[in-house]
Symmetry: C2
Subunit: 160 residues, 2 copies
DNA sequence: TGCAATTAAATTGTGTGCAATGTAATGTTC
DNA sequence: GAACATTACATTGCACACAATTTAATTGCA
């Protein structure tokens, strides 16, 4: 028998670590999916999916970014962004144009429609805030914790 | 001018709420994707994707569940699970069989291979724990917070 | 200058998520 | 007990994610 006391809740026991409800990864994964479901009806009114909304959020902050700059901001690659941006372009939300200085780059810029959509989007965070049933400080704390975790995971990935 | 002081960090300002880095949803979404990337090489050795791993975690806890019971546990529907389970079955990890009592139900049970895979999987949480560079209590706290948020979002979804 | 190495997007292929629909089995009601 | 509703799963279609590869433009360097 171990010198350390064993218990069902013991988080260092490999078997306990394997339980679904003890795993941060699953809490993260399932909560992220739940969040997307909350956004879905709100964004449907704007004609956007959740990843498309993220792209618009970035462009509303800074217009005229390249695909790779968008990707760095969102942690997504061209394989995800290229078709997504094409759909947004087809909807008339933005324009994609090869850069004149560097023909390899594609500059993504908002259309008038896309820029105007920001006004409609201003109501979205409030509605989500309400759905979370959390206070602003609670949300800020959790956001900061997740950003820190994301950074640590990113660093771990580099070492791989 | 408002009676309340305005500042760039003001979280009640609709424009500030729309900033990408102020949004919990994006922290959640991007961190969940980063977590999946950390799992990827670890699970590749087991021949599993991350959602497939989640199914195996559930079955290692309780074998012989129906598709809908698996779905309730993982917050996924049959449109996601059916093809995923078929792939796991094709890999020889599990068996799918119509229930004798109720022919509408499909019982999912581990194969010997699938049950044996648990031994290999025991090392996975440790490796992820290491990648997070967090202490166990930190992870437990964040997991509990996320589970609470998931519950609140689930309740908000019912009201829709 | 010439050309290999690098870089930026796009493309391809696989595997989810999920809404909407289909199908077959089971319950329910009169 | 026959018609109808409900349930459980499967299927279809669309939109991500992302690894791997391709294509085209730029850079670096001998």
């Amino acid at each position: 028998m171990n010198s350390r006391a064993a218990s069902p809740a013991d988080q260092l026991d490999p078997a306990a670590l394997l339980k679904l409800d003890n795993q941060l990864c699953f809490a993260l994964y399932s909560t992220s999916l739940a969040m997307t479901k909350v956004y879905k009806p709100l964004l449907a009114r704007l004609g956007l999916t959740y990843p498309q909304y993220l792209v618009m959020l970035v462009l509303w902050e800074q217009d005229g970014l390249t695909v790779s700059a968008l990707g760095e901001r969102l942690f997504l690659d061209s394989g995800t962004l290229t078709p997504l941006l094409k759909r947004l372009e087809a909807q008339g939300m933005l324009l994609r144009a090869r850069s004149a200085e560097d023909e390899r780059q594609v500059i993504v810029s908002l259309s008038e429609t896309g820029r105007a959509l920001r006004e409609e989007a201003l109501a979205v965070p409030q509605a989500v805030l309400c759905a979370t049933a959390c206070t602003i400080p609670e949300l800020q704390t959790m956001t900061a914790e997740l950003q820190l975790l994301r950074r640590k995971l990113g660093e771990a990935l580099l070492k791989t």
